[in-house]
Structure formats: C-alpha cells, structure tokens
C-alpha cells in the first residue's frame, strides 16, 4: 500500500484540515487546525487545496516511513526534522523515496507543528472534514503501524518546476508570530458578570501558560489569591462558546477555548481573543508569560482582513529553494538553506 507509514507517533497527534462548519447547534465543535496560518503554509508549499488534510503535532512528532515516492513539507512550530538521519529545514518542500525514514522530534519555538503531503492525507470525511475528534470517534485515530493513504496532487500544480520540468522544492520564510506574547481581545458578553476590578486586572495582569492544555483549551496560571472570580458565582446557564473565549473556571483561572472546545459551557467568559491572534496565542510554549490588550471590534475586523490577506498571499510567497536539495543536504546547515531562499519574496510580516 502506498502512502506514509507510522512507525511511532505522539499520542496527541491528529489529522486536521479546516474543520467542520455548521454543527455547533448540535453540540459538535468545529475542530480543524489550531494554527490556520500554518495549515495554509503547508498547502502553499505543496500546491495543495485549502481543505487538504495534514498531521498536527502538539509538542512532539513521530517516526514515519515512505511506502511510495512522496512530496512533503512541514509548517507551524519548528520541530527537529530529519530524513534518514540527516537534518532537513522546516518550512520547505522535500521528496521522500519509498523506504526513506522521516523523524520529527520536539517543538523548538512553539507547540503545534504540521506535516503536509502533496495531495493531502486521505481518510474518511465525516460531516465535511477529515479532522480527528478523539472523544467523539470522528476522523482517523493515528496509530503505530498504520499506513496513511495520500491523495492525488491538485491538477495544474507545477510546484516551482524549473526549466527542465523537474520539481523544485518551495520554501517559505518563518513568520514572526512565534515571538509574540501579547494578544488582542474584545470583552465577551458575560464580562458584565465581573466586577470592574476584575475586568481591570485581567488586562493588567501577566499570565503564565500552564502545561494543562490541549486542543480544547489552554489554561493560564494565576498566583494564589489572584483569581478572577465572577461576582455572581461560578456558573451561568450554558450558552454557546466562541473560539478564543477566555473562560473563568471555578478556581478563578482563565482558560482560552480552542477548536475542540465544548460548543456550549456554563463557566462565565470574560474576554474573547480576536480571530487574527488566536493561532499565535495557541503556539505560546508552556511556562511563557503572556498578556492581553483590549481593542475595538473595528480593529479586530481590520486585523481579520489583514490576516486573511496574508494567508491568500502565501502561494505567491513560496519560492523555489536550491535545485538539487539531495546533493546539498550534507553540506548545508539549516541557516544556510534558509539563506538559499531568494531574497525577493517580499515581507508582509508587519506585526
């Protein structure tokens, strides 16, 4: 069977795409890649369709073996990457021949890393998506020994074919959002349940990202006595949660709700992180300190427009890297390969 064989894989790895739309009213979360920008980077590097599926890793990857010739690329948080033991640069397309072994290790500067294949990973489409939702048994549950089938490449993709018609790998510059530690927010509808003192404090206070985190949400630690309790008790009548809501749990600690959150919940929500910033926030490593900045809804919408423009620009930003990557692998250190991307891609990383 052709495709990519899983030799070993971190238990929290999942298949992700753009997720499921329209089922929140039935209690089904949207799912989809936590870092939507990173998903789009992979599609740009391989000429994939926007809804092609990738593997999402949370902190640690796995070992894989090609069962057929494949083109792959990685995106999102940079992780150690090697083919047959030789290091490979992140955020660049690369070929594997049947039998080649791929190793993806620990994340270096973020949390969520992605492995993409030209044509996308296949797997059952349930309710419009291939995304894994473990607790509901949806999508592919990744296991050792499994061979992941791969789709046909999108038609008309040249992936930077050179004048001889050979495929040339494409590369993208690393975006700058992994260094961000401040994130923009709007008041959530239930912010009224909190005293002005608590409202002021959540904007002034610094929070440490806890290791209690997954695709449902990320907890922010507060020092003892610095909890952010609502005035009206712990719970409210369950209502719809939003992507990016900052919910205050019983002990006064904020939890930022992500793609696999429960679509409704009874904890009051104080803030909502703006759409353009949520992926970057989810990439902040545990132990780092973050803070929130209040913006207007008009600013949030402007930022959303900017964010979408950046994603649309990605296919044009992906540039051919050196022609014969295989011959040069042993000679080039990571930084050198980064330098081999042509310097004229433009730079839209303006935040």
């Amino acid at each position: 069977m052709s495709g990519l064989e899983i030799l070993s894989i971190a238990p929290n790895a999942t298949v992700q795409d753009q997720g499921r739309v329209g089922y929140l009213r039935y209690g089904l979360c949207g799912g989809g890649a936590i870092d939507g920008y990173a998903l789009a980077e992979g599609q740009a590097l391989l000429g994939n369709r926007p809804d092609d599926a990738a593997l999402e890793f949370a902190g640690f990857g796995g070992r894989f073996r090609a069962r057929s010739a494949l083109w792959l690329a990685c995106s999102g948080a940079e992780m150690t990457l090697a083919v047959n033991g030789a290091p490979r640069p992140w955020r660049q397309g690369f070929p594997l021949s049947a039998g080649d072994e791929l190793t993806i290790g620990a994340a270096k500067n973020g949390v969520f890393g992605y492995l993409h294949v030209a044509g996308g990973f296949l797997g059952e489409v349930v309710l419009g998506s291939r995304a894994t939702l473990l607790r509901a048994g949806l999508g592919t549950i990744l296991r050792e020994g499994m061979v992941l089938p791969v789709g046909a490449r999108a038609a008309g993709v040249d992936s930077g074919a050179d004048s001889q018609g050979d495929i040339v790998p494409l590369g993208l510059r690393a975006p700058d959002y992994f260094a961000r530690r401040r994130f923009r927010v709007l008041w959530a509808p239930q912010s009224r349940l909190f005293s002005p003192e608590v409202q002021a404090r959540i904007l002034a206070q610094a929070f440490t990202v806890s290791s209690a985190r997954d695709r449902m949400g990320m907890r922010l630690d507060v020092s003892p006595g610095a909890g952010l309790q609502a005035e009206d008790g712990l719970t409210v009548a369950s209502d719809a949660t939003n992507l990016g809501d900052v919910q205050i749990t019983g002990d006064g600690a904020p939890v930022v709700l992500l793609a696999d959150r429960g679509p409704s919940g009874g904890y009051p929500r104080l803030l909502t992180v703006i759409s353009a910033d949520l992926g970057a926030l989810a990439q902040v490593p545990s132990g780092e300190t973050i803070g929130f900045d209040l913006v207007s809804r008009a600013e949030a919408v402007d930022e959303l427009a900017k964010f979408r423009r950046k994603i649309s620009a990605l296919p044009g930003m992906a540039q051919p890297v050196v022609k014969d990557l295989r011959a040069l692998t042993d000679l080039l250190a990571h930084n050198l390969i980064d330098g081999a991307i042509r310097g004229d891609e433009g730079d839209d990383d303006d935040d």
Binding site: L243, G262, T272
Partner: protein, 262 residues
Amino acid sequence: MRDYAPMETGLTAQKFGPPQVSVAGDMGLLVGFGVRYDPVVNAAVLAFDRAFCRASPAGVIETVPTFCSLLVRFDPLVLPFSRLETQIEALLAQEDWYAAPPESPARRWVLPTVYGGARGPDLGRVADLMGLREDQVIDGHSAVTLRVAMLGFSPGLAYLGQLPEVWGFARKTRLSPEVPAGAVLVAVRQTVLPATPIPTGWYMIGQTPFRAFQPRHKVPFLLAPGDELRFEPVAQSRFNAFDQATFLSGAKDGDVEGNSGG
C-alpha cells in the same frame, strides 16, 4: 430554582426582557433573552432563531440556540457588524418573542430505558436526595414529557427541561470520569442525554440504547430543540434487543414511538 407558572403574555417582556445584543468575538453577535433557564425564555430563543434563519442574510455562517440566548456567527468581511445588528434589532422589535407560544414539537420521542442497576448506578442516591423509593423515582421520571431545550457540550447531547421542583437537587461535587452514550442523567430539574461517552457531574439513573448522534447517517443528529421526549421503563431484554434502524422506521407522522410493544 423557581417554578414559573404560566404567565400573562403582556407581562412577559418586562419580566425577562428586553433582549440584549452583545458582541461575541469578531465573528459573532449574541442575542440574550435572559440569564436563567426558563421554558418561556427558551421558547423565545427558539422562535427567534426560526424567524432569523428564515431570512438569514448572506454572510451568516450558523446560529447556535441555547437555553437563554442565540449566537449568530457570521463573516464580518461579508456582512458588516452594524448591518447585522440593525437587522437583528429590527427582527427583535417585530414581536414580543417571550409571548411566542412554544411551537408544536417537531417530533415526540418515547425512548426505552433501563433504570437502576448497572445502567443507573446513582438511582439509589437520587432516591435518597428526593426522599422517595427507587420505584417512585422511576415512575416520576418516566411520567413527565420533557422538551429538548438545547443541544451542546458534546455531539448530540440533549438538555431536557423541565422536571418538577422536587428534582431541584444540585449536581455531584465530584465528576464521574466517564458515563456511556445514552446515559440518563439528572440534577437541577433537568435531564441530560449524552450521545457519546462524557465525563459528568450529573446523577446517572438509567440508560437508553437510543443514539441521538449517528455521524455516518444521512441524518446525523436525531434530536432538535423543541422536540418532546419521554423515557419508557423497560426490562434489560428490551434494551438488549433494541435496534436503532427498526426503532426509527417505526416513526410515523413525526411521532417516534419505535416498536414499543410494552
């Protein structure tokens, strides 16, 4: 929790309203009809949702009705915030949504249920909380016709309202790590019916073999807000013999009684 008696329609708006529209993230507006669950508030949410969805403007992604509010998710780059706000305010002003009589239920379900034993490990505890015998708890629970107030938390999980006041005890203080799909869970005058295994703080008094979430079928979610539902006590053998396809084929004219023979 208060038990609201049927009320004069002229008073309802003052009692619960007026509805409030709030920004809910940069892709959402929340239309709040109240802050505590009440059948009148929930009926207002569902009536407003139906009316809004009939004329859903381009740019609306989905609506999410819950106990007391309706979340409207939309793309603000297609449908500007201010325009959607104006449309929502105009629709809110069109009528007294709290006076909307609950629409006749889309469907009436009678779900075979085994109460107590391994399928209802908390039945004895609930009987103690209510000061009743276990058979009285079963009789009481299965006698009430419940209404689906909302779906949420996990795929296809239904919150059912509302049991009489004597069921007003609080949830457990400690979570059960997992209860199975079909668990019949009670507390705070509500019944919760999960369609997948979930962790919970509610008391499990029984289980139905019916599954409200069938992801690989043409109709993946079987329950909808507004549906009426009653639990029918059956023996373990009926539970074991339950076949969902046969049960669903017994549905006629919106009434889903299944092949309930006894």
